[in-house]
Each structure stands twice: as structure tokens, then as C-alpha cells.
């Protein structure tokens, strides 16, 4: 290896390092933003009665939406589930609008017509979930069919929890996608509970990834609390799908660090699980790595967190000022031109 080569290799290495550091900062921003917005919702706004209805948060699972959605290309279409808030941020939906959505205000993506994560925006390439779990899975197949039909090189990102894989719609959607070799990345957050139901009462196989064989679909188990791991795996999966090789599933092992919803104290979860998984907090792990790799100093991190808090302060204030929907609009838009 001559000097020129060495130099260019060094440069490349430095550049890669730079990219990784940059990526890490992005990860941290989106994960922290999701954590902070959800904390405000669950621990403040909900208790203050400013957020009503069902509230489900993704505390401890932030690496999954963040690591995966940051792989998405602009043409890709996201179908997040109910613990994937960061997907919206990454797709350009502001914390302001998300908070207004939770608070039932006109600036929410559904203008008060639906609550919490039940929102979407086709201009941002995000399809809204409905409550019925896994209902978006066949819809993701249809989105992918359309992407191919339209000659786009896009991929559909279909998100769901472990429990959702028990549903018939999940099976039908995955089956159709695999038979049709559609460009879909299936992303399971296996947080080991579905509401109060532990995994072994949801499925007889040990891993969600074991379900892949039924569809001849490559399925990978990923450390869902390691955002880099999620990112790398999603890149592999998306490349596979984009290359026309059909769907690819990622099972991201993680843990739900809360009750099922804001009103559930999760007595049924053994305390040790919270302790054990608490040590694997994806944000803490990311920060540690950033410090170790010298991608950031403690001060940088503190500053980043402070900036996120400020952004969320502003967003909450915005949402709180956002008007209530006008009851006179109740009948509009059930059908077009009404």
C-alpha cells in the first residue's frame, strides 16, 4: 500500500467516522425527542386531563422507529404502529403537530377527529394506523404493490408488535407480500408483552422471526435497544426489498418500559424485567457509545437534551394554543365534496 492509498484510506475512514458521528447525533435527537414528547404526554398532559383517551408510549423502544426510519428514502412509505412516534418526526411532522393531535386540536394531523398515534399524512409518506392491530400489514402490501406499479423504487415499512402477529390480517398481508415479492420491510418490535399477555401466551414459537419460514421470508433477530444495530439491519432489509427480492422481516427484541397504556400499572410484569431492561436503555446506551467513540462530550449531550426539552416546551405551548375543532365541521369530509 503506498502513501497515497494510505492517505485516501485514512480520509475515507475519517469520513466514515464523521458520518457515523453525524448519524449518532441524529439518532440521539430523534430518540430524545420521542422520549420527551411521550413523557410529557403520559406523565404531565394526560394527568392534567389535557390529553384524553388511550395513551400508549414507546419508552425504551425508541431505537426501533429511529434506527429503521432513518434508512428510509423519500419515496418510501411508512406504516408505523402505536409505539413508533419518531417515524413522524423523521418524516417531517413536527412535535407541535403531534402534540396538537394528542390534545385533540385542529393542528393535529387529524384535526381532532382522531387521537394519539392514529394519524397519517400521505404527503409525508405516512399511513395512519387504525386500532385493529395488524390491519396496516395488508395495506403495506398494497402500498408496495403501488410503488412497483408506479415504477418507483420505494419500499413500504410495515411496523407491528409481537402480539399483532397473531392476527389473521398479519398473516394474510405477509403472505400476499411474499407471494407477490413486494418491496416491504416488516419491522416487529418484540417488547415481550401484548397488553398483559406475555409472549408464550401469544405464540408457540420462540421468536417472531420463526414465523418467517412460513412465507419463505428472510427474517432476522436484531437487538432492538441498539439503534446502530437496528439501522444496519434495516439497511440490509431495505436493500433486499428494493432489489426486487421480496419482503424481509426484522424482529427487534426490546421491552416495553411502561404499562400497556397510561392507565395500566403493569403489575403483571415481574419487577426484575424492568430492572434488567432498564440497564439497556437505548438512549443511555447511545450516549455512552458517543462518549466512548468521542463523537460527543458530556456537555454536547446535555446541550442536545436541553435543546430537545426547549423544543418540546414550545410544542406543548403551541398545541395548548391550538384551537379546538369547530363542532360545525362535524359532518364534513365523510365523503368528498361534502
Amino acid at each position: 500500500m503506498n502513501a497515497v492509498h494510505a492517505t485516501s484510506a485514512d480520509a475515507q475512514h475519517a469520513q466514515e467516522e464523521g458520518l457515523r458521528a453525524e448519524l449518532a447525533h441524529k439518532f440521539l435527537y430523534y430518540m430524545s425527542l420521542m422520549r420527551e414528547v411521550e413523557d410529557r404526554i403520559e406523565r404531565k398532559l394526560y394527568r392534567q386531563g389535557k390529553v384524553v383517551g388511550g395513551v400508549y408510549v414507546g419508552r425504551g423502544q425508541e431505537a426501533i422507529p429511529v434506527g429503521s426510519a432513518l434508512c428510509a428514502e423519500p419515496e418510501d412509505v411508512m406504516l408505523p404502529s402505536h409505539r413508533d412516534m419518531a417515524v413522524f418526526f423523521i418524516r417531517g411532522v413536527s412535535a407541535r403537530r403531534v402534540l396538537a393531535q394528542y390534545m385533540g386540536r385542529v393542528d393535529g394531523l387529524t384535526r381532532g377527529r382522531d387521537g394519539n398515534m392514529h394519524m397519517g399524512d400521505m404527503k409525508a409518506g405516512v399511513v395512519s394506523i387504525i386500532s385493529a392491530l395488524a390491519a396496516t400489514v395488508p395495506v403495506a402490501a398494497g402500498v408496495a404493490l403501488a410503488l412497483r406499479y408506479q415504477g418507483k423504487n420505494g419500499v413500504a415499512f410495515s411496523y407491528f408488535g409481537d402480539g399483532a402477529t397473531s392476527r389473521g390480517d398479519w398473516h394474510e398481508g405477509v403472505n400476499l407480500a411474499t407471494v407477490q415479492k413486494l418491496p416491504v420491510v416488516f419491522i416487529c418490535n418484540n417488547n415481550q408483552y401484548a397488553y398483559s399477555t406475555p409472549l408464550h401466551m401469544q405464540m408457540a414459537c420462540a421468536n417472531v422471526a420463526d414465523r418467517g419460514a412460513a412465507y419463505n421470508m428472510p427474517s432476522e433477530i436484531v437487538d432492538g435497544n441498539d439503534v446502530f444495530a437496528v439501522y444496519e439491519a434495516t439497511r440490509r432489509a431495505a436493500a433486499h426489498a428494493r432489489a426486487g427480492l421480496g419482503p424481509y422481516m426484522l424482529e427487534c427484541k426490546t421491552f416495553r418500559m411502561t404499562g400497556h397504556s397510561a392507565h395500566d400499572a403493569a403489575h403483571y410484569v415481574p419487577k426484575e424485567m424492568f430492572e434488567e431492561w432498564g440497564k439497556l436503555d437505548p438512549i443511555v446506551r447511545l450516549e455512552q457509545r458517543m462518549l466512548e467513540e468521542s463523537w460527543a462530550k458530556r456537555d454536547d449531550l446535555d446541550a442536545a437534551q436541553a435543546a430537545v426539552k426547549a423544543e418540546v416546551d414550545d410544542a406543548v405551548a403551541f398545541a395548548d394554543r391550538s384551537p379546538w375543532p369547530d363542532p360545525a365541521t362535524l359532518l364534513e369530509n365523510v365523503y368528498q365534496n361534502e
Binding site: I130, A194, T329
Partner: protein, 325 residues
Amino acid sequence: MPSTTYLEAIREGLWEEMERDPNVFCIGEDIAEYGGAFKVTAGFLERFGTRRVVDTPISEAAIAGAAIGAGLMGLRPVAEMQFADFISCGFDQLVNFAAKCRYRWNAPVPIVVRAPSGGGIHGGPFHSQNPEMWFVRTPGLKVVCPATAYDAKGLIKAAIRDNDPVIFFEHKGLYRRIKDELPEEDYTVPIGKAKVVREGRDLSIVTYGAMVWTALEVADRLAAEEGASVEVVDLRTLMPLDRDTVCASARKTGKVLLVHEDTRTGGMAGELAATINEGAFEYLDGPILRVTAPDTPIPFSPPLEEAFLPNADKVLDKARWLYRY
């Protein structure tokens, strides 16, 4: 006896039936250790064990189908939908399997499907629906919608003892809002019988579920306002429909206001309007009117939900108009 909530009444009815008949068991999501999303089966696991309190994966079709299979074998399953809104996920099993077995091959399917329905809890489009008409229009199914704690207990017991499939709608808004003194002894409320919950001469309000309470309030207010004597009929069961009680009330008062929380088009009010036309046309002194939710999904945000739901003011307006007609 201390006062019992609507929710507690259902819980008691279910519990007593489990004690009475070893063939009765519960099946659904998060109903065992967790006791159900609304805690209707809290404590059941401890008393009856996993054999009779069966937690399932998230599989409404499998819950319905497994209940049917067990019912065909002579058991008496009580299946829980976590919310009535998810019943559409097990729909084919109910409308095509359960509903038609007896007629087709003489095989009774004695199951109960409990479905917490109704709005007013800011549940939004997927946690507030009133899907009763999907089942009312499906011959072979019975559909029950209790309004009081007394009826809720008596009807859940009757539903469990019934030899046909019963869809049992529990109004979430009544769960903890409504109470009754319940008898000590075992009792049932017959499926298929409406009840005149308030006698009147001038105008009938025919309704069911949470709107019974709205109708009673309107009856009071219209009496106070105009001295009107308003009769309130609580259908309690939508299928089989107690057409006689409805028509008798229509013949008596000559004016009928139909009220339901469900959306308008294709709602129960239509069936009642046709029934009254057929059975009491010559007695009518005014058009049969209806107050219902409008034809939209159920919005989440409180001001929208409030505008969506029928309430006493809206019912009173129409009742007054009809009374003066």
C-alpha cells in the same frame, strides 16, 4: 344490598353463572391475570383457574371460532371482545358460522359475545362504536343492549342460559355511571322483551342503551316545561325485537320519537319506523321522528364528540316539536 354499578352487575351475573354451571367459561384477550380491559373478569382467574378463564392471543376470529367450537360441544362460552369495535375482526365467524348452524344443521351454538360499545369516553373512531345493526340484520343472532344494572345482570344471565348465540353490548359510558339495588336472589331478565320504563300518554320515546337515561331526562323536562306525559320504552333486546310493546306504546300515545346513539342511516330507528307503520299506522298523530348520531365516524376531540352524540337537549327539541304537532 349495597348499590351495584352496571359493570359490577355484569361481573356478578357472569360470576354467578360460572358458579352455577360448570360448562360456563370465559375466553378473550387479557381477561385472566389482568381481569379484562375494563376489569369485568377481575378475580375470575383466582376463583376459576386457567381452565375456565382462557386468555388468548390477539385473534378475534379465533376467539369467536373457538367459542363456537366449544359451544357446539355443549359448553357455554362467554367470549369477550376487548372493545366492540374489534368485533369486525371476527365478523365472519359470527355472522356466517354462529348465526346459521341451528338453521342449517340443527346445531345449537349457545355462546355469548360480550362487546363493550358506545361513546362519550373520548375513545375516538375505534373505541366508541355502536355496531349492533351489523348483527340485528343477521338472522340467527340475538342482540342485547341493557341500559340498567338490573337488566345488565339479568340479561347476561339469560344470555348465558340461552341456547342461541347472543351478542351482548355493554355500554362503556354506563359501566361506572349507573347503579341499582340488586335482588339477593338469582334472577334473569327475558331476552326479547322490551320494558316500558316510564308510562305516559302523549308521546313515546323508544330507545335502548345509554339513551334510555337521556330519554328519561327528556321526559322529566318535557313534563316540567309543557306538562307533557312522555312514555319511555327501553327495548333492552334488539333482536328478537319486541314489536308488540313498541306498537302498543305507539297506539297509546300516537306520537313516537325514536332515539339511538348509533349513527342514523341503517340504524335501529329505521326498523322501528317500519314496524310502527305496519302495526300502528292508523293511530299515528304525527310523523315518527328520530334523534340519532349523524352519519360520520365517531370523532375523538371532546367538542366534536359532544356535537356527535345525541343528548337531552337534542332529544328535547324534537320531543317538544312532536308533542306540539
